[in-house]
């Protein structure tokens, strides 16, 4: 009486998507907050575009990667906290008592992350265009932007799952949020790396993988098709996805080991 992995994954993905969509506050804030930060950042730092050597025509174009990366982070924390809540509430135990394959749980949760990431990517793109963001790589570039965003969401979602499965505590997952938030800012998100004056900050931004995710998305907006930036962007995104999902699977195995 064992159901196929596909049925299990789709049932669980359906559940996590339903759950998210039925909390309008979560969906709205996952879209509104990054948008708000984007608006404040883009207009607040507008003057930075007049710095000599600034790579984009306007700071608005330059800053467009910001809401996408931030949205991926919001989605990941929400999904991670949801999983941790399932563990805390005993829902996870209930699922563990069924013949469900543990990997179905992880895949179902990540499918929910991908769905939210897709929604966020499309909405932000539409709003960005409305605000006058000029995407140099054109329509094909927009598709790639959404693709990369979803991949980033998946990678962050994997990290969220790792945290949830390791700690089993909503509070622990949520208190990791500031850490993530900071690591976004400690990257080339606000200025290109060669315009960062403080050496230590430039060094941190260069070592921070998020810089490459940002620069990959950004290159499609401000440059067009930049093979190096895209290669680095997708490379790091796939790397994070692979590592975090491997980590999450390992923690999942320990949690269900019996």
């Amino acid at each position: 009486m064992s159901s196929s992995l596909l049925v299990q994954v789709t049932s669980l993905a359906r559940r996590s998507t339903l759950r998210t969509m039925r909390q309008p506050a979560v969906v709205v804030s996952a879209i509104l907050f990054p948008m708000m930060f984007f608006a404040i950042n883009a207009y607040g730092l507008d003057a930075a575009a007049s710095l000599p050597g600034f790579p984009a025509d306007s700071y608005l174009d330059f800053a467009f990667a910001f809401p996408l990366i931030q949205a991926a982070l919001f989605g990941a924390i929400t999904a991670g906290a949801d999983l941790a809540r399932d563990i805390e509430s005993g829902f996870f135990d209930r699922l563990s008592l069924t013949p469900m394959r543990p990997s179905a749980l992880l895949l179902g949760m990540l499918a929910g992350v991908v769905a939210l990431g897709l929604l966020q990517g499309v909405v932000f793109l539409a709003v960005g265009l409305l605000f006058g963001v000029d995407i140099k790589s054109g329509v094909a570039g927009m598709v790639v932007i959404v693709l990369l965003t979803v991949l980033v969401a998946l990678g962050f979602g994997g990290i969220g799952a790792m945290l949830a499965l390791r700690t089993g505590s909503v509070e622990a997952v949520e208190s990791a949020f500031p850490l993530f938030f900071v690591s976004i800012f400690m990257s080339s998100i606000n200025l290109p790396r060669d315009l960062i004056e403080a050496d230590w900050f430039r060094w941190v931004a260069t070592a921070n993988p998020i810089s490459y995710l940002v620069e990959g998305i950004r290159s499609l907006v401000i440059t067009g098709w930049d093979a190096q930036a895209l290669l680095l962007g997708f490379g790091f995104a796939f790397g994070i996805v692979a590592l975090s999902i491997a980590g999450a699977s390992a923690f999942l195995q320990t949690r269900v080991a019996r």
Binding site: M1, S2, S3, V7, Q8, S11, L12, R15, L18, R19, R22, Q23, D86, S89, G90, F91, F92, D93, R94, L95, S96, L97, T98, P99, M100, R258
Partner: protein, 327 residues
């Protein structure tokens, strides 16, 4: 190989946690197929830990446990296929409806689309949730959540059912509704039920056999009737009237037996001579002109059994917890 009809066999089961004493300290349990076994004890006695081990959610430190004929450590998947469990927290997703819960559970158990629908309808009707089926669980009452929890545990028609404190926090009406459904399952469908509770009445009414656990050890086991008969003697409780001091009442009653815990202001003793002593008690009070407002004969209860075995009262502890929770 597992027999088609096997219950629960536990031998010298131990579960330790890194901190603190052994939660389960070498218990033996044998539950016959079709039996309702009540596992009675105060909070923290080891009831839930035992259930987690028996449902394969927690590995034992040592000892063996076989459920439905399968070893909980070696044959986890087979055990899980044979059992249903409603664990302590009614673990439900507040944003899904009752029907969606059943549908998800059924899908994970491998039921086909049509089967899922039919089984869902059937169970919703059985636990009386047809009308609430399409409402989100967030709006359910405690009793509705427990009933849905029970329905979820029954989706795959398990032969053995684990219920961990199924009625804690429920109002009397919901409680008795759940009791009748559990009895029906055992009586009509031959489901074996392993039930933990801290309520004496629940164990008394529902269980064919009761195991009393305290601090990780089983201190008494048997049918409720047998356990109470072991204690044997009933008790009498008297509430002094105004003007008659408590001491006067206690002095008279102490002639008939050892004093035991009583309601505030009242005096109770276990009657050495059995229920027949009651008439003598009345005469003695009368002849000494000690007036009482209330005089009650109590049959021995499971609480008396617990008191006898552990030196503490289960009810008293429960009452204390309630008080603390309100502060």
């Amino acid at each position: 190989m597992a027999e088609k009809r096997a219950g629960i066999e536990v031998e010298n089961l131990v579960r330790e946690f890194r901190k603190g004493p052994r939660a389960v300290d070498g218990i033996d349990i044998s539950v016959e197929p079709g039996e309702i076994y009540g596992f009675l004890g105060p909070n923290g006695a080891g009831k839930s830990t035992t259930v987690l081990v028996l449902t394969t959610l927690l590995p034992p430190t040592s000892g063996t446990a076989r459920v439905a004929g399968y070893d909980v450590v070696k044959d986890g998947p087979k055990v899980r296929a044979a059992i249903g469990a409603a664990l302590q927290e009614a673990a439900l997703d507040p944003f899904l409806t009752g029907r969606e819960h059943l549908n998800l559970q059924a899908a994970l158990h491998g039921l086909g689309r049509k089967q899922r629908k039919r089984r869902g309808e059937e169970l919703l009707e059985r636990v009386g949730l047809e009308e609430a089926a399409d409402r989100r669980v967030r709006g359910y009452s405690g009793g509705m959540k427990r009933r849905l929890d029970l329905a979820l545990a029954l989706v795959h028609e398990p032969r053995i059912l684990f219920l961990d404190e199924p009625t804690t926090g429920l109002d009397p009406q919901s409680r008795s509704a759940l009791w009748s459904e559990v009895s029906r399952l055992a009586r009509d469908e031959g489901v074996t039920v392993f039930l933990t509770t801290q309520y004496l009445e629940e164990a008394d009414v529902l269980a064919d056999r009761v195991g009393i656990i305290d601090r990780g050890k089983i201190v008494a086991e048997g049918t409720p009737e047998k356990l109470k008969a072991e204690i044997g003697r009933p008790s009498v409780e008297a509430t002094p009237a105004e003007g008659s001091g408590r001491e006067a009442v206690a002095r008279v009653l102490s002639r008939f037996g050892e004093e035991i815990a009583a309601q505030p202001g009242a005096v109770a003793v276990r009657l050495m001579g059995g229920a027949g002593d009651l008439a003598d008690v009345v005469r003695a009070l009368d002849s000494e002109d000690v007036r009482v407002t209330n005089l009650r004969l109590d049959e021995p209860s499971l609480d008396d059994v617990f008191l006898e075995k552990t030196g503490r009262s289960l009810e008293g502890e429960g009452a204390q917890e309630v008080k603390e929770a309100q502060v």
